[in-house]
Symmetry: C3
């Protein structure tokens, strides 16, 4: 059932010229140069990837006419703009994004007090928009999503299926929230009173800047007071935990399964690698990169790279990660020294 | 668009007296003493936090009339009960919790065999309550939540949007389940038969005690047989994994992204820090605290603190976490010894 | 409210014979031999577990008539086929699985262009099936699940409540997807252009083989181009992150909270223990087992066991995990050597 196309048909599709290779070559998929498998077509859209052409497993590569380093085993189609042409290939093999035209599906539930222009917003089946929510023009609310009371979405946000935005949270423009993600649940705060954990009310909100994208099944808790903040342009992956009162600065990248504890503040352009974590009430400076699986236990000044648990500057952290590997050698050396010392002691008796 | 209020208007709002500071000071938010930023108002509700007043960045602090250690840079409003007064501030800046009056939304689907009193239970839009489920009076089932067949919810539970409680699970009274959380999915159990993983039926349930709170996107699997148990008063954060047949004792605190493997038993008042994990079939004793990112690999007697991977008693575990940092020093010392020994050997030739 | 039954009534229920123990013994639950608690009934279905009978805490055990090693403290009921008999006990104590007969619930939303046979498929309340989706006969789509446009489900799949399958993803036969799981969200890919992270379109799909089971709140991202692949017979636990373009081979086992970064390829029969992770663009060979909490940073040839961070072959990895524990001993030895050396130097002055 996989789609396929001959090189000739592909060249016709993108109005290109076969400059090398058998027109009857069958193309069965597409990928980047580095990830192509036999049967795939790829493209060279940027001169800096030219060296990858020699190494690609792709059966065919779409190039600009002036690209001449063509390995014999690969077929080439020349077009004026390979990147543009590749979009047509994507449309053929992949799937065009399903369009979501404006309108409110009859099965959706939209509060009468919600503010939205039904001619400029898409609300999918079985979605729910609660009282006083404000939905900016151009927003797409997918099936099953729940938009809480008083929530504000800026222009052109996309809330995917079954995502939840809780009461009064505020999103900027062009924010994308993927499926299953929960924004604005209560922070995890209790006071220990007479043998019991008594809930501390969490009355703040989550405020998300423009152009933020948040992956699937990620949780961002509302502040105890005030705001949990995700800065403009920041990108958050799947299954990330952002605790109450955390501040993520602008243009940060938070990779999957990272956890950031309460009230920790990240500057701008911070990168946290996958499965990393941070303790609470810390400051992580501008342009800090924390490598994957590292654990931050104190303030990290930026810019700089950090690794390990506890996270230390890259050079030092790498040494520490390597240190256990040096122990056996130390043991051996110590044993040799001991033998030499015993020998000396024998020859120089008390 | 952020709300603001003058000190004077704020004092009026809470019926307090400005005892220090300019009545025209503009207040733009609120927070705890330790987390306040310039422009915030905070409060001193408990004498034990008195020392934080000197260090707070808050522009104004609400105090009892007898509190006299007032730094000049801060404005102060005196009221008889600062904690109570602060609730009014929260209402002004924050948002009062949306009330969820009893009643079944017409878009909700409630099985005819479900047992609930529609005049005492709130069932939100597009929620689903399956056959034979029993919903205690005072429960709030938010939009999109799914309550499986035969599930029992005690009095005054809150099930947030798009949470799922699967077949026959039992919750006590005042249990809160946040959005996206799944209680009672199948445990992860397979037998390896002739090159394939064959599913072992998971026929038990999850049983949750009174006053338990469970965060967002957390997963608690049903038992293979019998019950996975969450004890009374325990609090579980976001993105936590509780495997089949785990027993969490009463009044435990399980922080975000912890994973507890099958059949492990926690006593009472156990704390597991963020991103910690435990292997299966272990016993973690009463009042054990496992620090964040630690990995439990064998039984831990309580009470006591443990850290590291494998988790060891705090003192020992900290030493082990520090040990790699000692290796370079050992190398240096060893080199020095080697040189001194060589010198001796030279002077005492064979 | 817990069910209970006397030994006598239990014997009647399973048409067995009490061969030892008081018929009035009250049985209050059931479990495996190793996990039974006092009051439970268990069974010996396989001779290889015979030794567990001596150690079980069960009050009663169902056995075949020829099993004679019966500790006095335990009651025994003999039946021809204990495994079969135990199913009746499960039905009594546990709950039979709720049947989900074919039919489309009136509250479900099914696109007119979706292909399914309403007499052979169960679509639960408030579920949504989008345009051009193809649902194989025998499928069960639980309440609140969202099946995206162009999705294909093979025969007899089960999609649990509030799970989401995004656009054009393809599932084989007998695939089970548990609640809250999201299949086919966008991969986490951005290009850094002039100070901003610009989204790279993710136009591929997720392709899942036959007999795959996927736990709750797990995220499997669609490929940038081409396919993210989950091989036939593989089993994935809860809260697992599978990034774009990952390939999981057939019959793998991925335990809870594992994260696999983009484009990494797993062979067949790979096991990744809980909370383990892998960097991107790696190859993990056939029959590799990565122990829990390990971090894979380079290719791992199979077969073999690996542990630690970075993950190394088991023997080496265990040594490294143990190395920090050796450091204090090294320090002590070094100090002793130093003293002996100083003594020698004193006796052999320059």
């Amino acid at each position: 059932m996989t789609k396929s196309i001959t090189l000739k048909a592909l060249a016709d599709l993108i109005q290109g010229t076969i400059v090398q290779g058998d027109p009857e070559t069958v193309i069965t998929g597409l990928n980047s140069l580095s990830e192509s498998l036999p049967g795939d077509v790829s493209f060279l859209g940027n001169a800096k990837y030219a060296a990858q052409v020699a190494k690609t497993q792709a059966a065919a590569v779409i190039i600009a006419p002036d690209f001449t380093e063509r390995p014999e085993r690969i077929a080439f189609i020349a077009v004026p703009n390979p990147t543009l042409a590749f979009s047509a290939v994507i449309s053929y093999f992949g799937h065009e994004k399903k369009s979501r035209p404006p309108g409110i599906h009859p099965s959706a539930v939209v509060s009468v007090s919600a503010k939205l222009n039904a001619e400029k917003v898409h609300v999918g089946p079985l979605a729910f928009i609660d009282d006083d929510a404000e939905i900016g023009d151009g927003c797409i609310i997918h099936a099953g999503a729940c938009i809480g009371p008083g929530v504000k979405l800026g222009l052109n946000c996309i809330i995917h299926s079954n995502a939840v935005i809780k009461d009064y949270c505020q999103l900027g423009e062009r924010v994308v929230v993927h499926s299953g993600t929960v924004i604005g649940s209560d922070g995890f705060g209790y006071e220990f009173v007479q043998g019991r954990h008594v809930k501390i009310d969490q009355v703040g909100i989550v405020e998300i800047g423009d152009d933020v994208e948040i992956g699937s099944c990620t949780t961002i808790d509302r502040a105890r007071f005030g705001k949990t903040i995700i800065g403009t342009g920041s990108k958050i992956d799947n299954l990330v935990q952002i605790a109450h009162n955390v501040v993520i600065g602008p243009h940060c990248v938070i990779v999957a399964q990272v956890g950031i504890s309460g009230s920790t503040k990240l500057g701008s352009y911070v990168v946290m690698g996958g499965q990393a974590g941070s303790a609470g009430h810390l400051n992580i400076g501008d342009q800090v990169t924390v490598l994957g699986r590292s654990g931050v236990t104190k303030d990290l000044p930026g810019p700089g790279h950090y690794t390990g648990f506890p996270a230390r500057p890259l050079h030092e952290g790498r040494k520490l990660l390597a240190a256990p590997g040096l122990v056996p050698g130390l043991q051996t050396k110590l044993k040799a020294l001991e033998a030499r010392l015993a020998e000396l002691e024998k020859r120089l008796p008390g």
